[in-house]
Amino acid sequence: MTPMPDTALEITPDLVAEHGLTPEEYDRVLAILGREPSFTELGIFSVMWSEHCSYKSSRKWLATLPTEGPQVIQGPGENAGVVDIGDGLATIFKIESHNHPSYIEPYQGAATGVGGILRDVFTMGARPIANLNALRFGAPEHEKTRHLVAGVVAGIGDYGNCIGVPTVGGEVNFHPAYNGNILVNAMTVGVAATDRIFYSAAAGVGNPVVYVGSKTGRDGIHGATMASEEFTEDSEEKRPTVQVGDPFTEKLLLEACLELMATDAIVAIQDMGAAGLTSSSVEMSSKGGVGIELDLDLAPQRETGMTPYEIMLSESQERMLMVLKPGREDEARAIFEKWELDFAVIGRLTDDGHLRVRMHGQTAADIPVDPLVSEAPVYDRPHAVPRPPATLDATEVPEAMPVREALLALMACPDLASRRWIWEQYDYLVRGETVIRPGGDAALVRVADTAKALAVTTDCAPRYCAADPVMGGRQAVAEAYRNISATGATPLAVTNNLNFGNPERTEIMGQFVGCVTGIGEACRALDFPVVSGNVSLYNETNGKGILPTPVIGGVGLIEDWTRAARIALPEDHALVLIGATEGWLGASLYLRELSGREDGAPPSVDLDAERRAGALVRQLIADGTAAACHDVSDGGSLVAAAEMALAGRIGLALTQPAETGPAHAFWFGEDQGRYLVATQDPDAVREAASASGIAANELGKAGGDALTVDGFDPISLLELRQAHETWLREFMTTP
């Protein structure tokens, strides 16, 4: 037989290095195999041991996160986390990054990020009901920013819009630290019956291994390795490693999988995401403690002359691997053929614990699965958690401009300006269950045929994380908790997307360790466990790291969606500020946007107070005392009040309570643990707050068509709205 060209390739130290393996890691490969690897085997070790797939720098710290709770059905380790929402239903959700591909090719990079996270969720048996995202771009004035925003937004929109899953929420920041390395994190939330959840552990020696979905092409080879390296100036030459998405095929795959899942033919199922057929087959066999044999001649291929190396490492989209019960192949095939998708039995489970890959009558790879997974490198990288900077006293921050002008400037600044230009490109209504649309706190999406709804949000303040990683990590969790509580929903669990720079640098690893520590503290204190997540390291270009950006995707449950609160201010209601205000301006948007400074410690997060304040607002919403509610975060209480007034199309007259410090610190300070509630019974709010040991201050009353802060000229709602709505639209449409 003709020797296969790729298996005959000589394995040189250079080739090993090109595959991202250190000499020590390569020695471990030799020890596991007891011989030199073939080229295909080298490729398999390379992707399985990449940072992206092996979590080798992060694993030690991820193990410190709380992942359990009575509501948790499945924590981290599966395709997505599974949480009980009662009455035989579960929500299944996860967030995942697609940062490097989106910088190189924004449209396809972002689109396939959405496609990948959707598959992670419907692989487990859930119908996706909502998509969210968390985006970070460089400075608006950077030459690439506009192009990247346009491409990413169109990519996210086109994928979700076509497959028919509403994109209901997200967040966007602009900062020069992302000039060379944007962040695109996509989250999907689905719903399944608790007795129809599908896992990836293969079982049953001899059972058929089935490939479904699109054909395999040469796209995305080494995507997982690319995601595990720093960027350099020539990274854009890696455009061919970016996958190409086809949401139409994914829609067919979704419907076909759910149709097959209604039967009992499936033993295990896993999507082919990063590292494609390699990681899916290894994970399925590893979890099930079985071997797996693949005959690549049988794998559907889009191109001719593909090698085993290419097929095993391709990241072609819209593919799934399944293990079926014996004899159920025809039934499954009929479903996939009805949906006009490829269906091929490409292998079977074996009892020897090896991953064996054959093609053209030759063995291209033969690797014992257990050591491939269990002996993957784990590093305890040196780290130094940065010491938080000194606290800035409000008196050290001179007023940059009068309160009226400051509010208008902040409402129009890139991090607070209306995101309408973005979310109007997302179909946030399809499926007809969207109760709270984009633009509020958490979005609220009903669970079909029940009174339940899920509150969903993504949150992170990277500027806080940069100043004090522990506090920033806490704050990201606390803000997700608040956004959910502000709708009246009970926070259930989170997924996290940890985006950092190069972990081989001690200060970056210190940021990582600090943020994970803070996240763990907050999740523990708030009963808000981590059930899934993704780590994205090496977010650097030419040695410059991004701001530490640990995004928290939070999910909460409200049993009766008709009782949910929105941010829209109703007429004649009093506005009460829940939570204490000291006027914290350190690391605030006021400081950065209006004073041109990024110094100071971020606001401290009192987790006990967060918990009590959250329970208080949920109670006020549930008993009808609070008619509207909004979390107070970026920009402080006046920005939150202005957003409520705009949403309610009603004016607001506000007065600063006595003895609360300088006006700019009171109105724009970013003290944590705070909410604004609109009520017709402020005394009841004060009493309930006092019983919970939480401060409550009445700030004013809704009415008229202007926002007035006592002592300053009124701002008409029209002027306020124009300030808020104009910046992003003009930025994106001005050449």
Binding site: N161, C162, K251, R420, E424, Y426, L429, V430, G432, T434
Partner: protein
Amino acid sequence: MKSAIIVFPGTNRDRDMAVALTRASSQPPVMVWHGDTELPEVDLIVVPGGFAYGDYLRAGAMAAHSPIMREVVKAAGSGTAVLGVCNGFQVLTEAGLLPGALMPNAGLKFVCRDVGVRVENSQTLFTNHYETGVTLRFPVAHHDGNYFADEDVLDRLEAEDRIAFRYAPLDNADDGHANGRTNPNGSVRDIAGIFNETKTVLGLMPHPENAIEVALGGEDGRGLFKGMAEALG
């Protein structure tokens, strides 16, 4: 009212439409797969929104040539009411049941938002629950909703009262545009929906099926479904 919803690979507002039809007529619609070659006996056929066949080639183009569409055209020819919404409107124009074409939006971007939709002719089986001239609040969610037809076709549509809906200013627009944004896609003469000659086929871009609950943004779409249910029994 007995109804059927045509489901193509890539259709995604079939469920939304089924909910709206079921609420209006208390009879759930029959879901008909694109490969089927027979239609059930119904009073109304609906081609819903989505991306039939991925909208490859041109929105609605491939769906218009599917086996089931031959049956839909035949049924329309013998007087069965046909409603096409969004992608369904595109399919109906591609299938020749309605004149004109839906081109990419003038802004070249997908647009999802509430728009004002003025009822131009309330004397039809679809619109009898409304009054002519009233402005409804419907969401749009499309990339290719820019209606175009030749001037003489447009003149004829107007002369024959075949403009069903036009985009119109919306009270309470909340986007900060000084003059509001009336027409979301650049469609000629602000056309949002049209009838065929006998006014038994309606195609429109906005989504009445996503405007059936106050708590979800409004219920102006219920009139369309109620009107059809009353007219078609």
